[in-house]
């Protein structure tokens, strides 16, 4: 009933090109923001923050990053875990080397460091495509994890080989270290998540986004109309790695607090983020959020239903989770390659016309 664009005329190109052209969508977005910033921090508990909200926000940032590279620019990457590790270790080194600088700036700088590393590993993309590029990024994944394991400088020569985040504050409230409040870490990640979402949206709807999509859809034609392929691909690698690096830094500093690189940022992490964008929707910012939410919530819901409600043993439920995720990926690849985002769009088209079929 309320999902209408009739009478909602656009009289300028700015209005026509805005992120939520339909009024109802726009207001709902503001409502979600208001709830996220003004309501959730007051009611969030430790369990909700650590099991659902923090991983969702951080994975959403990583998924947006990978989606820019794979969904928008068409360059498959299996190195997400490795790049997240770069962000985490950059953040660790910065935090310990410059304790007086705000953690906020450290996280952004970690993104910058990761962007530089991403560009370096993106260089082969000019020569190799598709599966071969995927294998090259896979090499980056293993090399980076190996590097952080083997070079003691990266973990400040600590005996355990782990890195752990020292306590840092933003506006006098601890966001890293052992004495953090759930609402503080949540808000800290939320700010980054909102920022990345907006920047990603702005980049993908403008000139740069079009040059990425041109490269994705037909690289030869893109070059003929004036896209510099090297530049387009490397900016995609840089922006993507920047976001993934921020996600890695937050994952380490705010969410986990202490990290053993091989366990946390292994190849499974790369696949997890890749699954998120496949299920959520390639080439869609909303899809990145949807995919992250889905894969974060799935284990929680399965545990709730399987263990608490039906009384199955935990390990069986864990196996079920693998089966369900696996079959979902196959289903999505076969039936709806554009993921949840496309399903949502189809529903929206129907809603706009409801109750009429056409």
């Amino acid at each position: 009933m309320f999902y209408r664009e009739a009478g909602d005329f656009k009289t300028s190109y700015i209005d026509d090109g805005q992120t939520f052209p339909i009024r109802f969508d726009r207001y709902r977005f503001y409502a979600v923001l208001a709830v996220a910033f003004l309501v959730v921090p007051f009611i969030v508990g430790d369990y909700t923050a650590n099991a659902i909200l923090l991983p969702f926000l951080i994975y959403a940032i990583a998924a947006i990053g990978l989606n820019i590279l794979t969904g928008y620019c068409g360059q498959v990457s299996l190195g997400t875990g490795g790049f997240m590790a770069v962000g985490a270790y950059a953040c660790y080194k910065l935090m310990t080397a410059f304790p007086e600088v705000s953690i906020f700036i450290h996280v952004i700088l970690s993104g910058g460091v990761t962007a530089a590393v991403g560009v370096l590993f993106g260089l082969p993309s000019l020569r190799i495509k598709g599966f071969y590029l995927a294998v090259a990024t896979l090499a980056a994944q293993f090399f980076l994890v190996w590097l952080f394991n083997r070079v003691p400088w990266f973990y400040n020569y600590s005996a355990s080989g782990q890195i752990s985040a020292p306590e840092r504050e933003v506006f006098g409230v601890a966001v890293t270290g052992p004495h953090t409040e759930a609402w503080a870490t949540y808000l800290f990640c939320l700010v980054f998540c909102l920022g990345t979402g907006l920047v990603a949206r702005n980049l993908t709807r403008g000139t740069l986004g079009r040059s990425w999509m041109a490269i994705r859809d037909m690289d030869i034609a893109a070059e003929i109309i004036g896209v510099n392929p090297l530049r387009a691909k490397l900016t995609a690698f840089a922006v993507s790695s920047f976001f993934v690096g921020i996600a890695g830094a937050l994952f380490f500093a705010v969410y986990l607090g202490a990290v053993e690189v091989g366990e946390v940022f292994g190849i499974q992490k790369s696949f997890l983020v890749l699954f998120m964008i496949i299920i959520g929707g390639l080439g869609s910012i909303f899809g990145s959020f949807a995919g992250a939410a889905f894969l974060v919530l799935l284990p929680v819901i399965l545990k709730l239903v399987g263990v608490n409600l039906l009384g199955f043993p935990t390990d069986i439920v864990a196996h079920f989770q693998l089966i369900i995720v696996g079959s979902l990926i196959i289903l999505f690849l076969v039936l709806e390659p554009h993921g949840i985002a496309r399903l949502w769009n189809v529903t929206r088209e129907k809603l706009r016309l409801w109750p009429f079929p056409h």
Partner: protein, 272 residues
């Protein structure tokens, strides 16, 4: 009439200017195959120049040389009074040469509007940081881009499909969108690779009208390859005829039509 270096006046009274692009003794080889052999011709400002010839004559190769896709082994390409060094296709595009393709090369995942706006990439100047902020300069540039795109969309009468994904369009419209994408760059030289291939009579008439309108309205210099003789003879001011990689005729449609070599190439020669 053609010897005048200052240009000439066409039969329908349009004034044709100086030389925009000159190909001097171009030879292009693929291994042992000679695709283009020692061909020279020029394209003048404001004219519609056709390149014709039987299958395999080297027409498309010639267009690819102009658009920088192939680098000829011998010969020189002069563009707007300067010799062009070997350059990448995107650099050629930045010089103001736009083209369409024989087999449509649109970005299938994007809408018509996005496709057309992508055509103006060469005119965009905002960097990644202003684009990330969006408000201000990037938004202003985007609106200017959109205005130009809408002008071309109006011109080619594709307003009602502007938000349709290209993959859903029929062939004839795709061809038109591709023309729009090339036009929106405001090219100094527009290359059309078989703009009427695979079209029915009605679509051909539409396309011919658009090509003439483009030339008339924007004064765009056009070089095109076409198989349909009737279309070529009606549209173009001057025609280059190629056969087996060699130039066998060059001149107005009437001159070319009377050229014995051209008649032989198209109709065959009796062996005695």
């Amino acid at each position: 009439m053609l010897d005048d270096s200052e240009g000439y006046v066409t039969t329908d009274g349009r004034k044709i200017g100086g030389v925009v692009m000159e190909m001097k003794n171009i030879t292009l080889r693929f291994g042992g195959v000679v695709a283009i052999k020692d061909i020279s011709f020029d394209i003048r400002e404001g004219e519609i120049r056709a390149i014709i010839g039987p299958n395999g004559a080297g027409k498309s190769s010639m267009l690819n040389v102009i658009s920088g896709f192939y680098v000829p082994q011998e010969g020189e390409v002069w563009f707007r009074g300067a010799k062009r060094p070997p350059m990448k296709p995107y650099e050629v595009a930045r010089q103001g040469i736009a083209r369409t393709f024989q087999n449509i090369a649109l970005f299938e995942g994007m809408t018509v509007l996005d496709n057309v706006m992508t055509g103006r990439l060469t005119q965009m100047s905002q960097n990644i940081f202003t684009q990330a902020l969006w408000k201000g300069k990037a938004e202003k540039e985007e609106v200017e881009n959109r205005e130009m795109a809408e002008k071309i969309i109006d011109f080619l009468e594709i307003q009602r499909i502007r938000k349709t994904p290209v993959s859903r369009l029929p062939y004839g419209l795709k061809k038109r969108v591709e023309l729009a994408r090339a036009l929106v760059a405001e090219p100094k030289l527009l290359l059309l690779d078989e703009p009427m291939a695979g079209m029915n009579v009605e679509e051909k008439e539409d396309m011919s009208r658009f090509i003439l309108d483009v030339n008339d309205e924007f004064g765009t210099t056009i070089a095109l390859i076409e198989h349909d003789m009737g279309v070529v003879m009606d549209l173009s001011d001057r025609v280059v005829v190629m056969d087996y990689g060699k130039k066998i005729g060059d001149g107005t449609p009437d001159e070319v039509r009377r050229n014995q070599d051209v008649i032989d190439a198209y109709l065959g020669v009796a062996h005695d």
